[in-house]
Assembly symmetry: C2
Homo-oligomer: 401 residues x 2
């Protein structure tokens, strides 16, 4: 039989490591002949745009380069699979492509939406008696998938955020004057990535002094009181805030900003808090939005994350070859110190369309910091620096044309 693998959703630094894991494990399975890659996620299967990975990934160097290339080498999509009742033709297109290419298993690397696709497609195949297996391989910097210890992609994003935070601490504490520095971090619904901004504490830093997650209600007055309290003991107050924090005085602070074209000004939380500090406290203030660098800075990937991402891809193939379908391969923590993990498979309906939040007990009572337990959880995920192959001083990437 042949298999096909696709990638979906937003980038991470290690989604290609999972692709490599699927490919390498498939090479080791006697039953598998060709490993196809579907371009632009499930759309490549719907429209029959498959490439042979066996033809593309030939040398050890090809594989090493793919492993260190961020984002999706097979490109991505944001396609939401309709239900089979509403649009059976799409399901038939998918089945036709898979059957035409003699494909026995489909592996979908993605986040929450992709797991929804795995769920619907595996249920459909079961219903119509199609034997093609459908497996999910998790990836998201948000770390918000249920039933697993953490997601591939999170560790590298956390390492970038924490590394950058240590450097920002050095950068903004050199002047002899009162100032506030606000760092806005990705995570629309959950604060996992923002929590990682506090990792510099493990190296003895006192900053960031304040950490705000979307799991806790945010109050502008509480925030200003927090800043003023920290200012009593330090000249530079460093704040980490999730992009998902909702400013309570939304009408006053967030909306209404309109540019000269009449567009509503889509300023983020960081810029909004910068304006509030500037107006209310009058001290020097700057905000930094880490932006898309958080999800693609593979040059500072976590070696642990890269290895686990590859291993999860391998685990999904082994499970499918053992007959599993409608499952998600997952990382489970066996112990934190020493750090050890195991790989399992979870029924996809336990993962799809659900969200894992940062537990309230890992957030300080005042809601303005994370606890030592949160840092102990994240710490092993950012360990290790992969050797990066470079050319002209820049990281080399693998591109499937």
């Amino acid at each position: 039989m042949n298999i096909v693998v696709a990638q979906s959703g937003g980038p991470t630094s290690v989604i290609n490591a999972s692709l490599l894991g699927v490919f390498r494990q498939a090479l080791a399975e006697r039953e598998v002949d060709i490993v196809y890659g579907s371009l632009n996620g499930i759309e490549g299967i719907i429209y029959d745009r498959l490439v042979s990975l066996n033809d593309n990934l030939v040398t050890d160097e090809d594989m090493a380069l793919l492993r260190q290339t961020p984002s999706s080498a097979l490109r991505s999509c944001r396609y939401k699979l309709p239900s089979a009742d509403k649009d059976p033709a799409v399901y038939e297109s998918i089945r036709r492509t898979l059957e035409n290419h003699d494909i026995g298993a489909f592996f979908y690397i993605g986040g929450n939406d992709s797991m929804d696709t795995v769920h619907k497609l595996s249920a459909y195949f079961a219903e119509v008696g199609c034997p093609i297996r459908v497996m999910g391989v998790p990836k998201t910097i948000d770390n918000d998938l249920m039933e697993m210890d953490h997601t591939p992609g999170y560790g590298s994003a956390a390492k970038f955020v924490a590394t950058t935070m240590t450097e920002i601490i050095r950068d903004c504490t050199v002047y002899d004057l009162d100032s506030v520095l606000i760092v806005e971090i990705m995570g629309r619904d959950t604060g996992w990535l923002t929590a990682s901004a506090a990792l510099p504490r493990l190296l003895g830093e006192t900053a960031p002094h304040l950490v705000y997650l979307p799991e806790v209600e945010f109050s502008v007055e509480g925030f200003l009181a927090d800043v003023m309290r920290v200012q009593q003991t330090t000249r530079t107050v460093i704040v980490a805030v999730s992009e998902g924090v909702e400013i309570d005085a939304a009408g006053e602070f967030q909306s209404g900003k309109v540019d000269n074209f009449g567009h509503k000004y889509l300023s983020g939380v960081g810029k909004c808090l910068e304006n509030i500090v500037s107006t209310r406290l009058g001290c020097k203030v700057r905000s930094v939005e880490l932006n898309i660098l958080q999800r693609c800075a593979a040059h500072v990937a976590s070696a642990t994350d890269v290895a686990e991402a590859e291993a999860v891809g391998m685990a999904a193939v082994r499970a499918a070859m053992a007959g599993e379908t409608g499952k998600v391969a997952a990382i489970q923590r066996v112990s934190t110190d020493p750090y050890r993990v195991d790989y399992t498979c979870i029924p996809v309906e336990q993962v799809a369309n659900r969200v894992k939040y940062v537990p309230r007990e890992w957030i300080s009572a005042a809601g303005n910091d994370v606890t030592d337990d949160a840092l102990a959880y994240i710490r092993p995920l950012v360990q290790g620096e992969p050797t990066v192959l470079t050319e002209n001083g820049l990281p080399r990437h693998f591109v499937i044309e």
Copy 2:
């Protein structure tokens, strides 16, 4: 005799490597006893806040950590030395501190403003017959100092910008739709750092497709025409733009944005162009401001830059010990291929208060790109990856309390 060293102006990734260079060369000079560090630049000398670096930098590990720590370990200032006519008392305070600590030479690591201080102070000492030598050690990510091939700090900032650009290219080219991605890069007056965003071309990338430097007049209509032209052959148009570019329709696009507090909205060039593309072309568009990460991302420093920054500090000490004063140590390129440099000393008046622009012939005729000659100039400056000492997966830093 003793010596004193201070750091001033904005951070770079290698300003502490220059500090280490001064310290290590001073240790090797028989005439030098104690190496003092002045806290917060020249202000530490005015107010007699000196620390002994011999007491702080004891082990090889101390020195290795200082070398990889971004920003200014001795902290910084933005103090502009008044002229000696206007405020002779400041000069007397400086002289008193230096004489009280038996200091024979002062080394000031900084950019343009710091070189102005070196200029004024050395001239004053010459006039009043004070034998204390005053030497400049250049640093700036802007690379805008005259009479030298390049400045320490530029190579590492360029490496961060180019590395990030390769990753952004991977990140934003995965979806099958028309989009524009705008990256805003530091450099208020000169385009040296923005030019480095084009380095991914050396690895075969076609992006960034458009590069705008402040050395060339910018036209909104020309920019829109450029974007539409590139859109005919690529779905994702990637633009690098200097923060110093002045939008010609300034009244229309830049000013007038006022938030709810009546503050003028300080949106950068990137956000401004994002709004223009969104309004005029209607396609998906995003802007990324690399912000202060450009000047402090020491985890991706250029090994060449680190080594040169240290060597420049050493060269300044050697020159002062040979009797020089009122000079700036500088890197001069001997050859590009193979890359070789030499270290010289330049009279400070040839450096202070002057600006080195990107030559017009290194910018394309249309003013929307840089030439191969520009890339050939930058390429050797970003070579090499230093080994970074880490703890818990994060870079370790050296902090003088």
